[in-house]
């Protein structure tokens, strides 16, 4: 009877103990590995772009106002903030998204405001900017409008953090 048995008692115990021990080791090591690589995974998932409702295919060469909001934490106070961008396609077909915050003292500029053709106009101190965001000399602003990095996801526009414009 015992000769027919292919697995001896000793072998059986060896196999089961190795198996159970293996599971226990894996159970301890897997969370550790996950914690170790977590910063890498998180960096990929968060990203710096905020989604908007603007369809990229609907953009033309006329700037349109795009509002987008996301949650912002200010000390212990979390709130939903809304930001605006003026978005159009330039003659090379690239998407340009300009921040509406005037570089003079921070008012909100509007496209062709107060009948200024092909310009961004700031109502506070009559500042003017060209369509590409460049400030018009002789008006109060001293720097061009900031520009948003843009991305596209599922046909919708995404905007990053505004940065200085070199035009």
């Amino acid at each position: 009877m015992s000769k027919k048995q292919p697995v001896s008692r000793r072998q059986f115990l060896n196999y089961t103990l190795t198996g159970v021990g293996g599971f226990m080791a894996a159970g301890m090591l897997m969370p550790m590995v996950r914690f170790a690589v977590d910063p890498v995974l998180k960096g990929e998932a968060a990203g710096d772009f905020h989604p908007t409702q603007q369809k990229v295919s609907e953009l033309t060469d006329t700037p349109v106002r795009v509002d987008f909001s996301y949650e912002q934490t200010d000390a212990w106070y979390t709130s939903e903030v809304t930001h605006t961008a003026w978005v159009y396609k330039n003659n090379k077909g690239d998407i340009v998204a300009l921040s509406p915050v005037c570089k003079h003292l921070g008012c909100t500029v509007s496209w062709e405001g107060n009948d200024h053709k092909d310009k961004f106009f700031c109502p506070c101190h009559n500042g003017l900017y060209e369509k590409n965001g460049k400030n018009v000399p002789g008006t109060p602003p001293l720097k061009p409008l900031d520009v948003y990095p843009t991305a596209e996801k599922d046909g919708l526009l995404q905007l990053g953090k505004p940065e200085a414009n070199n035009v």
Binding site: E80, L105, G106, T108, C124
Partner: protein, 153 residues
């Protein structure tokens, strides 16, 4: 400019550009009218925040002027506020309130009273709230720009 350390420091440097003060005027009612008064405060604050965003570089939002609405001399401080703001260099002073009694007192305050009937925002969704405030504020934007243009010509 908001009423905080950073913005007011900038204001002191750029005084010649910032010629408009906005004063939220709110009743402090601790009796049965409390929630009505609080609603007015909430509404006025949101409205003023929106306007500050539009015209950050030309106006300063002052701390709210709170008054006790059941006192006989409830409106008496306002003229003093206007006076001091004008002495500090503000050409235009706007008092924002939801209390309609201020309309009759506009002359004695020496400022422009902008009366906006308050809407209970209570449980409204954020997006609805935002578009409601934006619509109200657009009309006020015109009033302010008009005032600025009148003073130039």
């Amino acid at each position: 400019m908001n009423w905080n350390g950073k913005d007011t420091a900038l204001f002191l440097q750029q005084k010649e550009y910032i010629d408009t003060a906005i004063v939220p005027v709110v009743p402090a009612d601790f009796g049965p009218g409390m929630s009505g008064a609080a609603e007015q405060y909430e509404f006025i604050q949101l409205l003023v925040t929106f306007l500050e965003k539009q015209f950050k570089g030309r106006l300063l939002v002052t701390p709210p002027h709170a008054y006790l609405p059941d006192l006989d001399e409830w409106a008496s401080d306002a003229a003093e506020w206007t006076d001091r703001l004008k002495k500090a260099g503000f050409k235009h002073v706007f008092l924002f309130t939801s209390d309609s009694r201020w309309r009759e007192r506009e002359e004695e305050t020496g400022a422009a009273v902008i009366w906006v009937p308050s809407v209970p925002l209570g449980d409204m969704e954020d997006s609805v709230k935002y578009s409601l405030i934006e619509n109200q504020a657009k009309q006020i934007v015109n009033i302010i720009v008009q005032k600025w243009q009148d003073s130039v010509s």
